[in-house]
């Protein structure tokens, strides 16, 4: 199934209207540029003011950025590098064994878990090859397996039918052969959390998720710019209601607080919020009942053309400058690295690793892929403690394990109870990864497992189930149905104990088959809700 694309007319603004011819004041400014030896030098450049600049306004270059440790060998190639052969690992990378447990963790956190046999296949590539096979996909993603349907067997209508947008994405999580692209789309859906609640059409949410697919392994600045003027975001955070006569600070604040710099770190002031809001003015759209919000465009008449001072730098900043200034803020690399890291590891990065990641990020020109590769190769990724799977990751990984595809719209309401509905994050800060489990969410996960097992549960009363199955055979059968997930010793011991206890409940001859069948269903259910399948 092709990715639904809206018509170009509504998915992105048409050409910006021609700016009126304006006089330009050329002014010499100064900025820091990186030198190959890891240091910085001052470079002069001509800044074109749209208004006559004040005589003594700030012309740069500002405080010198911290020295970088070593010159990077090369920036990340935009084209995929050939997968590494053998298992040559970069300096600083994880040096332990790369076996099925490690491959499982990689597949769960950088994707949606393995299909049976996939972990073993990844092991054969070696650590570096395995990571690069995820981070350097080539061409368009293929969706492997049957097309998704609703309960009646009809194709999904993601742009029209309630809940089908989320099913459409769930299907991509289950079937895409580029799982990291989908996982990053989920990461950035959370990072730039936009909800359908404030967006007029599901297609605009789908379009936004396609931005995450397109930019997720590229430049963060490009992504940031694309999101800033994305129709869904322009509606969600009032970007299109921000005009020079009536500035709206909503996006200006969140772009710094949540998207690029972080609150309470001294990265920006309330004045910066107001000035950024002015820089971002000018976007608008039309509204009609049939089309909802459409015809998103930049209207120079609504843009504030006066000088703005952001982070101490003055100019006639535009929305693009607004993004660039955030990314250029000295506190952005640490924000970016910490936030990206937090999606892939349970504990903060050690100082040395964090510094390496920041250097990688800055020296590559804000590229996401090299930072991510460093994270996925790091010792902490493999040696660190487990994380709780987000609900949608758990669902997709269960479907992949048992070879089931999206064939019901029940997931929509079932997932609501788990606390994660795709395209409906709870607020602009996204989902809270520390609060996935409580009595209400845990019950919902239990019930999701019951639904996942729908067709795999055995019928206790049709007389067909074995009357002689041993406890060991029962557990082996249940593990096979789940695709042989790794189980902790204590989980396995308890399940085996359950299998034995169940036999003790058989007191009459007629119970031998039915109770064994129910035992099988109990084992299947408990594997699904065990910590082994809830953690990644």
């Amino acid at each position: 199934m092709a990715i639904p694309q809206s018509k170009p007319s509504s998915s992105k603004p048409k050409h910006k209207k021609q700016r009126r011819h304006q006089r330009v004041w050329n002014d010499k400014h100064w900025r820091w540029v990186a030198t190959p030896d890891g240091d910085w030098r001052v470079q002069g450049y001509i800044f074109k003011h749209k208004h006559k600049p004040k005589k003594h306004h700030f012309r740069g270059p500002g405080p010198k950025p911290p020295k970088r440790a070593a010159a990077p060998a090369a920036t990340a190639a935009p084209t995929p590098a050939p997968p590494a052969t053998g298992d040559s690992r970069p300096a600083g990378a994880y040096q332990g064994p790369f076996g099925v447990p490690q491959a499982n963790r990689l597949l769960h956190r950088a994707g949606f878990g393995p299909v049976p046999g996939q972990a073993e296949q990844l092991v054969s590539l070696g650590l570096t090859g395995a990571v690069y096979s995820l981070t350097r996909p080539s061409g368009a993603a293929n969706l492997v397996g049957p097309e998704p349907t609703d309960d009646d067997g009809n194709p999904l209508a993601p742009a029209d039918a309630w809940g089908h947008d989320g099913l459409w994405w769930l299907d991509r999580m289950v079937r895409s052969d580029q799982p990291l692209v989908e996982r990053l789309a989920l990461v950035f859906h959370d990072w730039f959390a936009t909800s359908q609640d404030g967006v007029s059409k599901p297609q605009q949410m789908i379009d936004q998720s396609n931005l995450f697919r397109a930019y997720g392994l590229g430049s963060f600045l490009d992504l940031f710019k694309a999101v800033t003027v994305d129709p869904a975001m322009l509606q969600w955070l009032n970007g299109a209601e921000n005009t020079k006569s009536a500035p709206n600070e909503n996006y200006a604040r969140e772009m710094m607080e949540l998207f690029s710099l972080g609150a309470d770190r001294g990265a920006y002031s309330e004045d910066d919020v107001r000035e950024q809001a002015r820089a971002l003015t000018g976007w608008r759209y039309d509204w009609s009942e049939d089309e909802g919000a459409h015809n998103f465009r930049f209207d120079p008449k609504r843009h504030d053309e006066k000088l703005k001072t952001v982070f101490g730098q003055t100019g006639n900043w535009s929305w693009e400058d607004s993004c660039r200034l955030c990314v250029g803020n000295p506190l952005h690399p640490s924000f970016f690295v910490d936030k990206l890291w937090s999606y892939f590891a349970a504990t903060p990065a050690p100082e040395a690793t964090r510094n390496t990641l920041m250097q990688t990020y800055v020296s590559s020109g804000w590229q996401i892929r090299p930072v991510l590769e460093t994270i996925l190769l790091s010792p902490e990724f493999y040696d660190g403690p487990p994380m709780v799977k987000p609900p949608v990751v758990q669902l997709a990984s269960m479907l992949r394990r048992i070879g089931r595809f999206v064939d019901t719209d029940s997931w929509t309401w079932l997932m609501e109870a788990t606390g994660q509905v795709l395209f409906w994050p709870p607020n602009v800060a996204g989902w809270d990864d520390n609060r996935w489990l409580d009595t209400s969410r845990m019950r919902a996960r239990w019930n999701v497992v019951d639904y996942v097992l729908d067709e795999l549960s055995v019928d206790a009363w049709d007389g067909s189930y074995s009357t002689t199955e041993t406890p060991e055979e029962a557990l082996a059968r249940a593990q096979a149905v789940w695709g042989y997930p790794e189980l902790r010793d204590e989980t396995r011991a308890e399940l085996l104990d359950l299998a034995r206890r169940c036999e003790l409940t058989i007191t009459a001859k007629w119970q031998r088959g039915p109770y064994r069948a129910m035992r099988q269903n109990a084992l299947l259910q408990l594997i699904g809700v065990s910590p082994d399948l809830l953690l990644q």
């Binding site: 009942e289 607020n427 489990l437 259910q525 910590p531």
Partner: protein
């Protein structure tokens, strides 16, 4: 969600933030009031006697076990007031369409109701009930509905957030932190009975935000069950193992979190498992709102010590476009549910104990907009429903000939007067300490003598 009100979405976020007190609030737009109740502490609590998983607000010093005793000891039998909120500003001129007003058709070229489409309103023949409001029309004909055809306040604010806040706190003041029902509970309420103020929409309604006394919110009126294709005795063994999963040691925070949630889930299952459902003596419409009202009637019948309840009407009413269809469906779900609730209470012999107050933050503009919808207006409608409701209109429909300076419907009754009457005539509580400036508001007769 329709266009225009992105601030509205924002305000919902703020409310969600307030409901999860302690998580920190999203930034507030300049001039926006913070919802009442912001900053109250919230704790989860399971009441075995009530069979409910509650979010309890306030009173953080009292141990949760005390609430259990409090609920058991609180005397039932008090009068109950239920608030039903049309979220988003319902179009009063659709609920009661002024088909007899000469200006009506011109102001509503595409939305106007036709004379004869619905029941004529018995107290003012210019007005006609929306067909979807047939449930209200039925109860009105039985003299069980007091209608406010143009309720509001002077200098109406057209922000959802601000105007709703005024109604919630019972005062035109953005700084208030307690709701008008919350202040009532602070005077008459129990120190240990959170059920006395109950929000049925999952999070705390600012209306019942108190300064001291505990109040509660529930997510669901249903019990707490775990599904599996397994029955006893194997089922019992299965849950023993599930409980064991929760009791095993953990060597990482994430595993500890899973173990904890597993143990608590199993505990809750054993405590609530048997309380699964309730039955209703009358049929309810098959929607979420009706289901919640059915649950509420069952709780009242079970003797739960409830005094005030807040619940949102079915759907949303911020109908900036495509109003006709949206409004019709949601209004029907709500009014059918309200009729069933009244019949349920009558059937159970509880109808003399319960009054329902239905309100919205404002009405909508008389002149429709360019997208077959209506924008924010001023005067709106409210209803007081129940066997003990006086059943007489309060304030007249002001007509469309003369509108206010913003071309909105003029106000003919003040919501604070309605609150004063409900407090004094129904709940038996002097409004003076609860509604600022209470002495200055006329008290309409809302309760049958």
């Amino acid at each position: 969600m329709h266009n225009c009100c992105n601030n509205y979405t924002r305000s919902q976020l703020l409310r969600a933030g307030a409901a999860e007190a302690g998580k920190g609030l999203p930034a507030i737009e300049p001039g926006m009031p913070e919802p009442a109740g912001t900053g109250l502490s919230r704790r989860r609590f399971l009441s075995r006697s009530a069979g409910l998983a509650l979010s309890v607000y306030g009173a953080s010093k009292i141990p949760l076990s005390a609430f259990e005793t409090g609920i058991a000891q609180a005397a039932p039998g008090d009068k109950i007031l239920v608030s039903v909120f049309f979220d988003g500003g319902i179009d009063a001129m659709s609920v009661l369409a002024p088909v007899g007003d000469p200006k009506y058709a011109a102001l509503r070229p595409t939305l106007a109701a036709k004379a004869g489409d619905g029941t004529t309103f018995g107290e003012d023949s210019r007005l006609q009930w929306h067909p979807s409001a047939a449930g209200l029309a039925t109860l009105h004909a039985e003299q069980k509905v007091s209608v406010f055809p143009a309720i509001g306040y002077d200098h109406p604010d057209q922000s959802h957030f601000t105007s709703r806040h005024y109604y919630e706190i019972g005062e035109l003041n953005v700084g208030f932190r307690t709701g008008w029902m919350g202040r009532y509970l602070d005077i008459v309420g129990d120190e240990e009975n959170p059920l006395q103020g109950l929000s049925m929409d999952g999070s705390l309604s600012p209306m019942i935000a108190t300064a001291q006394k505990p109040v509660a919110a529930i997510d669901s009126v249903d019990g707490y069950d775990l599904w599996a294709a397994v029955s006893d005795p194997v089922r019992a063994e299965m849950f023993k193992s599930f409980a064991k999963f929760g009791a095993l040691p953990a060597d990482s925070p994430a595993l500890a979190q899973v173990r904890r949630a597993t143990a608590q889930t199993d505990k809750l299952r054993t405590e609530l498992g048997g309380l699964g459902g309730f039955t209703s003596p009358v049929p309810y419409p098959d929607n979420y709102f009706g289901h919640k009202l059915a649950g509420l009637a069952a709780y009242i019948a079970a003797g739960l010590p409830i005094r005030v309840v807040t619940i949102s009407a079915a759907g949303g009413y911020d109908t900036h476009s495509g109003q006709a269809a949206d409004l019709s469906d949601n209004l029907k779900d709500t009014c059918d549910g309200l009729l069933a609730f009244q019949r349920d209470l009558e059937n159970r012999g509880l109808a003399d104990r319960v009054l329902v107050e239905v309100w919205s933050e404002f009405g909508r503009r008389p002149e429709e907009n360019g997208s077959a919808g209506t924008d924010h207006g001023a005067a709106g409608c409210a209803f007081v429903i129940g066997s003990k409701a006086n059943g007489q209109m309060v304030g007249e429909f002001p007509g469309l000939e003369k509108l206010d300076q913003n071309d909105n419907l003029r106000v003919t009754s003040d919501f604070r007067g309605m609150y004063c009457s409900l407090l004094e005539q129904w709940l038996g509580q002097d409004a003076g300490p609860i509604i600022p400036g209470a002495a200055g508001f006329a008290r309409p007769t809302l309760v049958k003598a």
